[in-house]
C-alpha cells in the first residue's frame, strides 16, 4: 500500500502553486504554455476522480447493449464495429442514451467548460 498524500492531493497542490505563485510572474508564450500545463494537471485530477465510476457504468451499459462481456476497450471496439456495419443504429433501444451518457462523462473530464457541454448539462 502506498502512503499518503494521494496522487490527487499532490497534483492539486502543484497546480495550485503554479496557478497562484508562478503564473502571475510569467508573460508571453511561456505564460500561455504554463496555462496549458495547469489545465493538463486539472484534467488529470478530474480523471483520477471520475474515471473509475464512469468506466464501470459505461461497461455495464455496453454489456447490456451488446449482450456480451469484456473490458471497456473490447466492448467499445465491438460497439464501433456494429455501428460501422449498420447492425446497430440510433433506432436501437439504448444506443442514443448510452452515447450521450458516455460523451457527457468524457467532457466532464476533458473540457467541463465547453459551451455545448454546459448547455446539455442544463437541459438534461
Amino acid at each position: 500500500m502506498q502512503d499518503e498524500p494521494t496522487p490527487t492531493e499532490l497534483i492539486k497542490a502543484v497546480a495550485e502553486f503554479l496557478r497562484t505563485e508562478i503564473a502571475p510572474a510569467i508573460k508571453g508564450h511561456n505564460g500561455f504554455k504554463l496555462r496549458v500545463g495547469i489545465n493538463a494537471l486539472d484534467l488529470v485530477t478530474r480523471q483520477l476522480a471520475l474515471e473509475g465510476p464512469g468506466d464501470a457504468a459505461e461497461a455495464a451499459r455496453l454489456k447490456q447493449l451488446l449482450g456480451m462481456d469484456g473490458s471497456v476497450m473490447e466492448l467499445n471496439r465491438a460497439l464501433s464495429e456494429k455501428i460501422a456495419k449498420g447492425e446497430v443504429d440510433l433506432s436501437t433501444p439504448g444506443l442514443k442514451d448510452h452515447l450521450w451518457q458516455t460523451t457527457m462523462d468524457k467532457l466532464a473530464v476533458d473540457q467541463p467548460n465547453y459551451a455545448s457541454y454546459k448547455r446539455e448539462l442544463g437541459t438534461k
Partner: protein
C-alpha cells in the same frame, strides 16, 4: 540573418527601397514559416509578410496546395476586389530565401476570442456573417481559366479519407463511427457545380478590423470541389468559441451568411451546407486525434499537442447535438 537576404530581394521589386527592418517569425513548423518585416523606403515604410518554405523544403505535403498556388490564388482574389493581401513578389531560386512569396501586411485581428468579445468589434460583429457570405461567393466565382492546378475533393472521397485516418489511430470511438455512417448515408454525391474552394474558411484565417473583413488568408488547403464546403466549415461549432447560438463563427446566423452569398446571384444549398458542417465537425475531431498521435510519435512532443488530443471529445458532443439531439 534573414534581413540581409530580404533586403537584397526587396530591392529588386520595390524601387527606392533602402533595406528591411524588424523581421520576426510569426509562426512556423519545419516546412513552412511566416515572417513579418518592414520594407524601409524614403517615401514611407511598407509593412510586409513573407510566407515561405525555407531552402531545402520545396515539396508541399499531401493536402497542401503549395506556396506557388497560394500566391496565384491570393493575387487573383486581390485582383477580383476581394479582401486579400496584394502579392508583392514571388521568390526566385537565386534569392536564397527558399520557396514562397512576399505580400503586403494587412493590420487587424485574427484571434477569435478578441473578435467575439472586444468592444472595438461590437458594431461590426452583426455584419460579419453577411460580409463573409459575399466573400465566399466571390472566391467561388474566381475566373476558372486563371486558377492553378489543385486537387479535386468530392464528398465521397473525403468520407473515405477521414475514415482511413480515423482507423489508423486504432482507438474505438462509437460517436465517430455514427458520424461516418451518417455521412455515408447522406452523401449528396458530386456537386452540380465544381468551383475553387478555400478549404479553411474560418477564424484564424480571417483578418477582421472594426470596419469588417479585411483579408482572407491561408490558401494552403484550397482545392476544387463543392462550394458549399466553405459555408459548412465556417459553421462548425469548434469555431464558435463558446457563442454556440451564433453558428457562423460565433458572430452570426446562417441566414445572414446565406443572404450575403446569394446577393451575388449564386445559390446556397442548405442541405449540402449541413452535410459539410457534420463532415467538418468530424474532420476537426480526427485532426485533434492526429495531434495526439504526433505528440506521441513525432518530434513535436509538446504538451499543447497532447492537450489538443483531449479536445476530440468536444467534437463528439457536437456531433451528437447535430445527429442525435436530445428532445
Amino acid at each position: 540573418m534573414i534581413e540581409a537576404e530580404l533586403a537584397r530581394c526587396v530591392a529588386s521589386f520595390v524601387p527606392g527601397a533602402t533595406g528591411v527592418a524588424g523581421a520576426a517569425k510569426l509562426s512556423g513548423g519545419a516546412s513552412q514559416e511566416t515572417w513579418t518585416f518592414d520594407i524601409l523606403h524614403p517615401g514611407g515604410n511598407i509593412g510586409a509578410i513573407l510566407r515561405r518554405a525555407p531552402p531545402g523544403y520545396g515539396a508541399s505535403p499531401g493536402r497542401a496546395a503549395g506556396l506557388d498556388a497560394e500566391a496565384v490564388l491570393m493575387q487573383l482574389a486581390y485582383d477580383a476586389g476581394l479582401p486579400s493581401p496584394e502579392v508583392m513578389h514571388v521568390l526566385k531560386a537565386e534569392e536564397d530565401l527558399g520557396n514562397g512569396f512576399i505580400m503586403r501586411r494587412i493590420e487587424g485581428e485574427t484571434i477569435a476570442r478578441k473578435i467575439l468579445r472586444d468592444e472595438e468589434f461590437a458594431k461590426v460583429r452583426p455584419m460579419l456573417a453577411r460580409q463573409l457570405g459575399k466573400v465566399a461567393a466571390g472566391i467561388h466565382a474566381l475566373p476558372q481559366s486563371k486558377l492553378p492546378t489543385l486537387r479535386t475533393v468530392t464528398s465521397t472521397r473525403e468520407i473515405g479519407d477521414l475514415e482511413c485516418e480515423y482507423r489508423s489511430f486504432d482507438w474505438p470511438r462509437p460517436v465517430f463511427e455514427l458520424a461516418l455512417r451518417w455521412l455515408a448515408d447522406h452523401d449528396p454525391g458530386p456537386s452540380r457545380e465544381i468551383t475553387l474552394v478555400h478549404g479553411d474558411f474560418r477564424h484564424g484565417n480571417l483578418i477582421i478590423g472594426p470596419d469588417g473583413v479585411r483579408a482572407v488568408l491561408d490558401w494552403e488547403l484550397a482545392h476544387y470541389g463543392d462550394p458549399m464546403e466553405d459555408l459548412g466549415w465556417i459553421c462548425v461549432n469548434s469555431w464558435r468559441f463558446g457563442e454556440i447560438d451564433k453558428p457562423v463563427g460565433g458572430f452570426g446566423a446562417r441566414e445572414d451568411l446565406f443572404a450575403g452569398y446569394e446577393e451575388t446571384g449564386r445559390k446556397v444549398d442548405p442541405g449540402r451546407v449541413k452535410f459539410w458542417e457534420v463532415m467538418g465537425t468530424l474532420r476537426w475531431g480526427v485532426m485533434c486525434c492526429g495531434m495526439m498521435q504526433r505528440f506521441r510519435k513525432g518530434p513535436d512532443h509538446s504538451m499543447e499537442r497532447a492537450m489538443i488530443g483531449r479536445r476530440s471529445s468536444e467534437t463528439e458532443i457536437d456531433l451528437l447535438r447535430l445527429l442525435a439531439p436530445r428532445a
